[in-house]
Symmetry: C2
C-alpha cells in the first residue's frame, strides 16, 4: 500500500538541510522558516506514505494510520533544535517512528488500534523562555503565552501564527487523539551505552532535578599583607563546600550526578583575597529522596561552617523538578523484545529531559535510547551509527506491533 | 629658624583635597592636575619650613636641609595614589618625613649630614604600565618610556613634560644626591599590627613574590547524562589542586601567603561539566626558597594528576620578584629606639611593595609601619589614628637624629 521507504538516515540527512546555519551546524528554532520547512517536509513524507496528516493549533504535526478498533498507540519526538546543534537530537525519534509505522503497515496491514505519531513543535526551549510547549499543548498544560517573547523581542503568538498560516494552507488543521500510551526513541546524549558496549538503553525514568545558586560572602583583602590566619576567603570556603559535596556525592553513589558548572568570583583580581564566590549546583537522581539527602547535608555543613568562620553562605533553590517513572510493563516487554532480537541492553535513567516526561503526566510511557558517540550532543559533532539507528527502530517497531496489532 | 609646624594630620588632610574625585575618594595619578597641585603644595610647604627645594626631570620633589659635613641621610615616600584610594597611602610617609626633619632642625639645629626627602612622583603604576618610576629614576634603572601610554592613549613623555613645565616655572630643577641610606615610613596596609595590638612595625624585608596562571583542561559534558565516573571536570580538578596547595601552605606556615584571587570557568553554564578552569596563584614570602618549595610541590602534584586523569594542567609563571632585605643594623637601632620610647613593636615582613625595595638595590634601607585600621588600604575607608601617625614619626625622627647629627 505504501511507497518505497526512505531510510531513517535519509530522513535525518534531509531534515538537517533545514537549518539557519551551514552544515554541519543545525539551528532550527520553533516557528522559524527552517522549522516550517522541516515540518512541511515531514508531513509531506507521511502523506506520501499513506498516513493521515494534520497540524494542530500549536504547530505539532500529527501523522495517523487508522486502525479497525478503538484505541490509539502514540509515538513521537520533537523537530526543533538548540542553537549549533547536531542532526540526530529529536529528529531521530520522528524518523524512526515514521519508518517503524510504515514497515508495520507494509508487513501486517491495517492495525487494530490507531497508530499516531506526534511531530512535536518544540521541546528545547531555545527560542522562547518555555520548553516542552508542543507536548504540553497536547496534554493541555500550557502556561500563559501572551507576553512570551524571543531574544529579538518577537512575540510567541505572532511568530506561531505566521508559521502556522503557511502550514495550514497546505495541511488540514486537526487535533490529537489523547494518547493512552506513548513511546519515544532518542539518542542517549550521554556516553553510558557506548562505554558499556550496549545497543539499546531502556529508560527506567527521567531523573528528578534540583538547581541551586550558592553565595559565599567573605572579606576582600590584600593578597600580600593579610596573613593566612586572618583571612575570610570566600573562594576558599566555596571550594571546601564543593569538595565536601563531592564526598556526599560519592556516598550516595551513581547514578546520582552533581555538577558545579558556573563559578563567579569577586573582585576576581590576582592580588586580592576573594570577597565573594557565587556558584551553581545541579543535582539529579531518579530517586528524588537522594536529592533531599544531599540538600540536607549541604545545609548542615553550611550552618556549621558559618558558625566556625563568621562568613555567610546562602543557598537559593531555583529549580526543583520531580522524577517521572516510565511504565514497568512496557519496560518488561521491551526487555523481552531486546532478548528476542539478541540486542544487548542497559536499564538506565535519563539524566536529560524529554517530551516523554510530559506525556507521562497523562499516560503510561516508554523511552528508548540508542548509543551516542562519545556522549556528545547539542553539538555538530553529535553522531550515532546507522546500525544503532536501525536497531532502535526495530525495538520500537516490535513494541508498537504488540500494542497496535 | 623654621615656621610653626603643621601636623602630619593637617598635611594629609590638605593633600587629600588634591584629587580627581570628591572626598573621601582619592584619585591622584602621576602628572595629572591633582598631582601637580599636590607636588606644588608639598614643595611650597618644605620651602616655607626653610628647606632647599628642587624638582628633578622625572617629577620627583627633593627637599634638603644642608649639613656641615659630607654625607646625606635620605627619607621619602610617594605622592601618587591608586584609583579610589584613601588619603594615608604614600602621603603619610612624606608628611612624617617633613615634620620629622623640621622638628630635628628646630630642636638640634643644623645637622652634620644633609637630610634629603624624596617626594617620589609615582609608585603605584596606576596610570601607565610601569611602577616605581620615581625611585627607579633616582637609581638610574628605568626601562624605555618613549612608547608608554596611559589608558586614554596619552603618552608618558608628553604628560610628564606638561606637568613639569608648570612646576619648573616655580621651583628650581635639581638632581638628587645619591642616597647612602634610606628610610621610609608607611601605613601597614594589612591587619597584623592592629590585631596584635602593636604600635610600630619594623620591616625585616619586602617579600619575594611569584604569580602563576594555571590552566586545567577537561572535557565539557552534559550535567545530567554523564555519570560522575566518566567525567573530566576541569573545575573539580582545579579545586583539588587549590586544596592541595592550601595544605602545602599550612606546612610552610606563616608568614607565607598563598592567594587564588582570579578564577575563570568555561563554558560557565549551570548544566555543563566545566571544560576548562583558569586561575591565578599569588605566593609571597621573605625567604624566596619557600616559593620554590611551593612551586616544586605544585609541579609534582600536577604531573601525578595529569597521569591519573588524562587531563592537562599547565602553569605559567608570569611574575617572579626577589625579596629585598632591610638593613639589619638599622633594624637593631630601630628596636632600641622603640624600647627607649616604650613603643610596642613587631618585626615583620612587608607583603606589599614599596619604594624602599628600589632604594635597597643601591643602599641600605629601613622601612617602618604604623597600624592600618582593619588592614584596609587602597580604599576611601583607609584609616590610621593620629596617635599612630605621631608614634611612627617619632621613631623615624629618632633614627634620622642618630644618623644625621
Amino acid at each position: 500500500m505504501m511507497q518505497t521507504a526512505q531510510t531513517i538516515q535519509d530522513i535525518i540527512e534531509k531534515v538537517a538541510t533545514f537549518t539557519n546555519d551551514d552544515a554541519p551546524k543545525i539551528t532550527r528554532l520553533v516557528y522559524q522558516e527552517s522549522w516550517v520547512q522541516a515540518q512541511d517536509y515531514l508531513l509531506t513524507l507521511g502523506q506520501s506514505l499513506g498516513m493521515n496528516v494534520a497540524i494542530d493549533e500549536m504547530g505539532n504535526g500529527i501523522l495517523t494510520v487508522k486502525g479497525t478498533e478503538e484505541g490509539v498507540v502514540t509515538l513521537g519526538s520533537h523537530l526543533d533544535s538548540v542553537v549549533d546543534a547536531g542532526k540526530y537530537d529529536g529528529v531521530y525519534g520522528i524518523a524512526a517512528a515514521i519508518i517503524a509505522v510504515k514497515e508495520l503497515v507494509d508487513s501486517y496491514g491495517t492495525p487494530k488500534q490507531d497508530m499516531q505519531i506526534f511531530l512535536f513543535s518544540e521541546e528545547e526551549g531555545s527560542r522562547f523562555p518555555m520548553n516542552f510547549s508542543g507536548s504540553r499543548f497536547i496534554i493541555d498544560d500550557l502556561p500563559e503565552m501572551e507576553q512570551l517573547k524571543d531574544g529579538d523581542g518577537a512575540f510567541f503568538m505572532a511568530e506561531r501564527k505566521k508559521a502556522l498560516d503557511v502550514l495550514k494552507a497546505k495541511f488540514p488543521v486537526g487535533q490529537a487523539q489523547q494518547p493512552i500510551s506513548f513511546a519515544e526513541i532518542h539518542i542517549e546524549q550521554g556516553p553510558v551505552l557506548e562505554r558499556k558496549n550496549k545497543q539499546i538503553g531502556l529508560v527506567t525514568g527521567i531523573v528528578a532535578q534540583k538547581k541551586f545558586t550558592v553565595t559565599v560572602n567573605g572579606e576582600a583583602n590584600h593578597a600580600g599583607t593579610t596573613p593566612m590566619s586572618m583571612r575570610k576567603d570566600a573562594l576558599k570556603q566555596a571550594l571546601q563546600l564543593i569538595g565536601y559535596l563531592e564526598e556526599v556525592t560519592q556516598t550516595i553513589g551513581e547514578p546520582f550526578v552533581y555538577t558545579v558548572g558556573e563559578m563567579k568570583v569577586s573582585p576576581n583580581v590576582t592580588n586580592v583575597v576573594p570577597r565573594q564566590a557565587v556558584f551553581s549546583i545541579d543535582i539529579r537522581h531518579l530517586d528524588a529522596h537522594q536529592l533531599d539527602v544531599f540538600e540536607e547535608k549541604m545545609h548542615a555543613y553550611i550552618q556549621k561552617k558559618e558558625a566556625q568562620t563568621g562568613m555567610t553562605m546562602s543557598v537559593e533553590c531555583w529549580l526543583n523538578e520531580p522524577s517521572e517513572r516510565m511504565d514497568t510493563e512496557f519496560l518488561t516487554l521491551l526487555e523481552t523484545i531486546c532478548k528476542e532480537k539478541k540486542l544487548t541492553y542497559e536499564k538506565m535513567p535519563s539524566g536529560a529531559g524529554h517530551d516523554t516526561q510530559i506525556m507521562n503526566l497523562v499516560t503510561r510511557t516508554a523511552l528508548l535510547f540508542v548509543p551516542s558517540h562519545n556522549g556528545i550532543s547539542h553539538s555538530p559533532y553529535e553522531y550515532t551509527a546507522s546500525e544503532d539507528l536501525e536497531n532502535g527502530k526495530e525495538v520500537l517497531k516490535e513494541l508498537i506491533h504488540r500494542l497496535a496489532y
